[in-house]
């Protein structure tokens, strides 16, 4: 079953699969960001694949010159009982990707979390607000250049 998924994706969307890999039994597929919504919809609607559950969605800061950020989708098929990991690389200058909220409504809060923590913008998201941090917070805490101890005075304290 597993090696068929990248093949199937490539035959449906030629050239969309950049890399596919397997480590400790987890299948990873790197795809381009342009077609992410179409790819996700195809993965969900295809009768054989049927990835109908979005288990997890998160951002990653790889801290490298090219494709600094990554958005990682963990999908699950209730029918086949298997996982799939999709990865999309984003450049630092333009960390923008289309939202998959239209495919799985559960992606809503997970995308908000990735926006909150990494500053990745999800276009067409219905409600792209900060998930955990205050709305007027200027920094993105899970980026590697954000210090562990936080930034002094970044959250205003009560006046005397």
């Amino acid at each position: 079953m597993n090696p068929l998924i990248p093949e199937k994706l490539n035959s449906r969307f030629p050239g969309v699969v950049e890399k596919s890999d397997e480590f400790r039994g987890d299948l990873v597929i790197n795809v381009g960001r342009e077609k992410i919504v179409d790819v996700c919809r195809f993965l969900r609607d295809d009768q054989d694949l049927a990835f109908d559950l979005v288990v997890d969605l998160c951002g990653v800061d790889m801290y490298r010159p090219e494709k600094r950020f990554e958005v990682v989708y963990h999908l699950y098929s209730l029918k086949n009982k298997n996982y799939l990991r999709l990865k999309v690389g984003l450049d630092e200058e333009d960390p923008t990707i289309s939202s998959v909220t239209g495919v799985w409504s559960g992606a809503n809060w997970l995308e908000r979390e990735a926006y909150d923590m990494f500053g990745i913008t999800f276009t067409d998201h219905p409600d792209l607000r900060r998930m955990y941090m205050p709305e007027d917070y200027e920094y993105y805490p899970l980026r590697k250049d954000f210090p562990l101890m936080g930034v002094p005075d970044s959250i205003p304290l009560p006046q005397k």
Partner: protein, 417 residues
């Protein structure tokens, strides 16, 4: 409808006639909507959840949950400590079932590093997970009953839970912050005293559950408050990424212990409980029945518990016994290296999900080959499950929202990370 309009205008004529300088009559008090702020400090929100509710009279038009009041940045902390150092932090995620968090984390790191723990340790981990599930579900059913006014059930469930806490105490040395697992094994062995205490607990657990059932299942107030409240369709539940009792109450038999087995669950016999009503009452029933299944697993695991070591035989990556580090050179070196530099995993990334009491609880770890993870994502079931509140609460009464939160059973330590 002209007849009704005539009647209405007649009524309003009478009412306007009653107005004077001291009395003013508003004909439709419900025409204006009201925003109600619930929480973050509200006893029924099970922690620090804040919900903004838009009301028309007592009917909920829409609501927006706000999270983040307990955000401690565990994912950032994880990037800055070794794999062993993060184990105590996992206790503080879902603080109602610390033992199963410990197990979930250890499984994820072991999958990354490539260690298989001995069978005895796997059985003890199953015992831990199921004790944690019972303890967590007891709180869930007790607090949900309390939220609708049945206080006795809460006292009874906490009495049962206390027995499990005593077992935790003997097994791990702590009642709540257990930090029990280690990478490649466990901190302490299961003892005969634990077996004795657990058998004692299981011997009367079914009767105690039946007592709670007797109290609630025939209670008209309880049933009326929970039935048809917080309905979510099966399609919505799947699309929203629900897991655990909420998804099973919607009729989807998804249980990672059966579907993507880990530990020794394939050797144990149990059923996946599903209901189709998908309301608060169905979720309550799912939790009650799951506790019976967990008790069944505990009995089998106790019977089958093998003898043998509890730590994997991999001295370079599994912490040695503390006593041996005082007297032996090799163990001292390994202890020093593991504590200061951490286990050396390969470059790679893994995701390991486990079926916790709330749903799918998983860790996604990206390793760059050093002793600290490059990135760790915690897949917390409570956070995803909470995102269903707007769907469940739409059109419900304002008093139903406490039932809906109770039926989701969120733990904010895990939802806010």
């Amino acid at each position: 409808m002209p007849a009704r309009t005539a009647e209405d205008s007649h009524k309003s004529q009478i009412l306007t006639a009653l107005e004077d300088q001291d009395t003013s009559i508003i004909l439709d008090p419900l025409e204006s909507e009201m925003i109600l702020n619930m929480g973050p400090q509200h006893p029924a929100t099970h922690g620090v959840l804040r919900i903004l509710v838009r009301l028309d009279g007592e009917t909920i038009i829409g609501c927006v949950p706000e999270l983040g009041y307990l955000h401690r940045g565990y994912e950032k902390i994880a990037e800055n400590c070794t794999y062993h150092e993060f184990i105590p932090h996992t206790d503080r995620l879902d603080y109602l079932s610390p033992l199963s968090n410990n197990v979930a984390y250890a499984l994820a790191v072991e999958k990354l590093v490539g260690i298989e723990v001995p069978r005895r340790a796997q059985y003890i981990r199953v015992l831990c997970c199921e004790m944690a599930r019972i303890a967590s579900h007891l709180v869930a059913v007790g607090t949900m009953a309390m939220d609708v006014g049945a206080l006795t059930a809460l006292l009874w469930t906490f009495r049962e839970r206390e027995n499990l806490m005593d077992i935790y105490d003997v097994l791990t040395g702590a009642r709540f912050t257990t930090s029990y697992t280690r990478i490649g094994g466990l901190s302490q062995d299961w003892t005969d005293r634990c077996t004795e205490m657990l058998r004692e607990f299981l011997a009367k657990f079914d009767a105690d559950l039946a007592e709670i059932e007797q109290l609630l299942y025939t209670n008209k107030i309880f049933i009326d408050r929970c039935e048809n409240v917080g309905y979510i369709s099966k399609e919505d539940a799947i699309s929203l990424g629900m897991t655990g009792p909420i998804l099973r109450a919607a009729g989807v038999p998804r249980d990672l212990r059966k579907d993507n087995p880990y530990l020794v669950y394939p050797e144990l016999d149990f059923e996946v409980i599903t209901f189709t009503e998908s309301d608060a009452l169905a979720r309550f029933y799912v939790r009650m029945e799951e506790m019976k299944q967990s008790a069944r697993i505990l009995r089998q695991a106790l019977d089958k518990l093998p003898t043998g070591p509890i730590n994997a035989n991999d001295t370079k990556r599994v912490l040695p016994k503390k006593e041996r580090t005082y007297t032996r050179m090799e163990e001292l070196i390994h202890d020093f290296m593991l504590i200061n530099l951490g286990v050396d995993p390969p470059v790679g990334e893994v995701y390991q999900g486990t079926e916790s009491s709330k749903g799918e609880f998983g860790f996604y770890i990206i390793s760059d080959g050093t002793g600290q993870p490059w990135r760790m994502k915690i897949r917390s079931p409570s956070m995803v499950n909470l995102s269903a509140i707007p769907v469940m609460a739409k059109g419900a009464m304002v008093s139903d929202i406490v039932v809906i939160i109770g039926s989701i059973d969120p733990v904010m330590g895990e939802a806010d990370k």
